[in-house]
Symmetry: C2
Subunit: 506 residues, 2 copies
């Protein structure tokens, strides 16, 4: 069998059965092989950022890698910003990049580029295949590299002639290393801190920012914080007392004030998103010691379970109530979402300036999974939602997006329509890069003059998300009042398949 | 003055007065400084690929750099594929990338990435500013680096604190090196080949693929070929006899058959776009010697002018005629364009599978400038058109786009609407990655099965370009017959500002 088929069969043997692709000439053999390897599902995306973001969303939900199939250096380049987010999320992804045939590579053809150099900044593992006979082995290694805890992007670069040449049999799956056991000394040290009665809290990230991790953490009676940029966090009433560290440094510092010990589980000491003039980047009090209980590649849940039990876990908060009719605000949208979000829903969050109000409201919602921003590269929200929907058929996915952010990868809507994915997208339309109003002041530029304002204002012309969605095959509506939004969101919940609501903020 | 203002003033002193931007927090000082430095024009783009492509288009038309202003590693990552095209076009661009403040960089904040590593594969010059006091000097060096013949992307990475700190005065412009004089020995060698009477031809690229270069080349009486992937080529009746080397190797080889000498001027020996099984990559006959007359950084026009004169230049072809009404085909669209295209128009070409028919027809059009694909990274057509329109107010810009390709950077339509750019976009809608039907067979995958077909078909759901354009603020219409297309294109020519025609192919 040729190299392309050997690669697809090796991926399948290793449990990778979904491939997000935007192929070109150098990937034609892989596309052709889909008909001989029907267990591999190909999902076409109209931009590579959608491939990378969808693979990230899929990995966050399943813990397993999907593959991406991209065309040469430029195709990979288009995927890098969402691979950056996947890298920060520690998402396992097997990234296959086609390359010119080896005989063609010596010439400076238009598409010739340094593919490895593009891949390195976002990949934990990069390998250019050097012979067709190595195809199966290299693909099996790529899967293990992607899955090695805590997870990473593994980029396998495949010259076109290695795909069309005979490559022998596919390789069997290699063993995937498990997370390392947590160090007993660290567990003992954390236990002593807890026993001391000094003000201490837990900070959970990675696999510990999960239902099992939160349950184990609650047992200790300590306050629990969540790394804001975790790949996936359970949210809603049962976990309302576990707080995500705030975005801006002042509220984050207020949350952590008074602590003498922060016990970090698969997480680093928290730092602010940006640095600002005259302000430190770290968020914990200066006299607070940060202790690592489990590193990113260790089993943080087991470490938490080994800590001594303390007080009873906190009670759930009261049920949310629907807001009265009125102009749409982040708060009123948040209240509607908190009341209506179905249990087990998956929320992809890229709301930016509206996020704080809505996420606060969602603490009162039924239990659900939140897919937060991890790397801050704008354009993840819609692709991640698409990947999550493929990962969890039967669960409602809600993509909460800003109008500015959604523009970076709106092509994801087309893939949602094509694959009939059960995603409700809510566009928070304030016609502005609103967060920059705040950041402008924070970085010391006191006055936003009229020319600066034009670089933040996105209202001329106004983006029409109802038409944009329709142009991409997704049914859409516009809401300008709380009652309209509530109506449309209720309808979306009873309507399987993709739908978009443009929520025009007052 | 602070670093941001010093940088903007240094850019202005060096002749850079236009900046395509998609700023974030780390670039807020630059945005703020726009009100203090009103001669710098900021053009907002909703995706970084539009910034890079527009700067490429601007540079190709003016020969001078615009600036781009991008947000950290991920913002740069989104621009890389169009910077790849700019690199292949040898376009001068001053690429400013904001970075975290130096004190914040030591932490692994979400957006922290290796910005230099992202920049290197597409940049001829990369520099991270190491102190605010160096801002002016570094910006002046970046301009020279960008403009050094034949032109390149110069990336200056600026930590946020160097923008908000005091940075002293802007730097004056540094001298820009001119192209090197061509080597007398190479001119003598080429002259001897011409005198020998052996079958010889010229191959022009770079600055020699210009009106002056073509005029000098025509004087020699030799057949003239154009590097297909030149940044900018004059096309239309006066230059119809100068042929662009074909995309596929078979017609390219047929064009060059029988030649014993190919005299390359700012160009390399031509190679095919892709390598294919059992076929060499070079296109000139195997017994044809390729002689370099002028390297990419040399004055190819002067070299051509130094060659001996030969026969009289060839006559212009006949005038084109309007096609009869009927279903839309690339040929009928090409005939309409050839008849109606105004003299001096600028054509941005990313038609892919429709390109051969339309470009052949455009050889009969009034003299115009063609902006071809240079690096093959899909998504350049609309951004390059936007940049060309800003570079040449008063000239009509026509963007010829495929429906598949246009999806990679459709955000450019919004910038066209916002800046009221005089661009007619024609979408060749065949609802398919049509070129891949051909490439699939060429790479040895004989049969396109139903599952492979789904990775090439983009008709489910159908993209509605009229709605997409309207959603981005651009007036649009749909044409399904030759008469409809002719009507709509005539109207577009008399209508200043952006307009889109979705040409639905039969």
């Amino acid at each position: 069998m040729n190299g392309a088929e050997s690669l697809l069969r090796t991926l399948l043997a290793g449990g990778v059965d979904l491939c997000f692709m935007n192929p070109g000439t150098s990937e034609m053999q892989f596309v052709s092989a889909l008909d001989r390897v029907p267990a591999m599902r190909g999902v076409l995306c109209l931009h590579e950022s959608v491939c990378a973001g969808a693979a990230d969303g899929y990995a966050r939900i399943t813990g397993r890698p999907a593959a991406t199939l991209l065309h040469l250096g430029p195709g990979l380049a288009n995927a890098l910003s969402n691979f950056h987010n996947a890298r920060k999320a520690r998402s396992p992804i097997v990234n296959i990049v086609g390359e010119h045939s080896t005989l063609h590579l010596r010439y400076d053809a238009p598409l010739t580029a340094d593919v490895e150099a593009f891949a390195r900044p976002v990949s934990g593992w990069v390998h250019t295949l050097d012979s067709p006979a190595r195809m199966g082995a290299a693909a099996a290694e790529a899967i293990v590299a992607a899955r090695r805890p805590p997870g990473q992007v593994a980029s396998l670069i495949v010259p076109a002639d290695h795909s069309w040449s005979d490559a022998g049999e596919p390789a069997p799956a290699l063993p995937v290393p498990a997370r390392n056991a947590p160090a007993a000394a660290r567990i003992a040290a954390a236990s002593r801190i807890i026993a001391s009665g000094q003000p201490a809290a837990l900070l959970l990230g990675g696999s510990a920012a999960s239902e099992a991790g939160l349950a184990a953490a609650a047992r200790t009676g300590l306050p629990v914080f969540l790394n804001r940029y975790s790949a996936l966090v359970p949210r809603g009433r049962p976990w309302a007392s576990a707080r995500r560290v705030a975005y801006f440094p002042e509220p984050a510092e207020a949350m952590l004030a008074g602590l003498k010990h922060l016990i970090a589980v698969e997480a680093e000491a928290p730092v602010s998103f940006f640095g600002y003039p005259g302000r430190r980047s770290t968020l914990a009090p200066e006299d607070c010691a940060v202790h690592l209980l489990a590193a990113q590649d260790e089993d943080g849940i087991a470490a938490l379970q080994a800590l001594p039990a303390g007080h009873a876990p906190p009670k759930e908060p009261a049920l949310p109530v629907l807001p009265p009719d009125g102009p749409l605000t982040p708060e009123s949208i948040g209240a509607v979402l908190a009341c209506l979000l179905p249990e087990g829903a998956i929320v992809s969050d890229e709301m930016v300036s509206c996020g704080e109000a809505v996420n606060t409201a969602l603490n009162l919602a039924a239990p659900h999974l939140l897919l937060p921003v991890t790397g801050g590269s704008i354009g993840q929200g819609l692709p991640v939602a698409a990947g999550a929907a493929l990962a969890a058929p039967g669960r409602k996915v809600v993509a909460l997006e800003a109008d500015g952010s959604a523009m970076y990868s709106l092509q994801a809507l087309w893939t949602m329509a094509r694959e009939k994915l059960d995603v409700v997208t809510v566009i928070f339309a304030n016609r502005r890069y609103r967060i920059l109003d705040v950041e402008m002041r924070r970085t010391g530029a006191a006055i936003i003059g009229p020319r600066a304002d034009q670089m933040i204002d996105i209202s001329r012309p106004e983006l029409d998300w109802v038409r944009l969605a329709a142009g991409l095959g997704v049914e859409a509506s516009r809401a300008a009042t709380t009652a309209q939004f509530e109506d449309q969101f209720r309808r979306a919940l009873s309507h399987p398949g993709p739908l978009l609501i443009e929520a025009v903020l007052a």
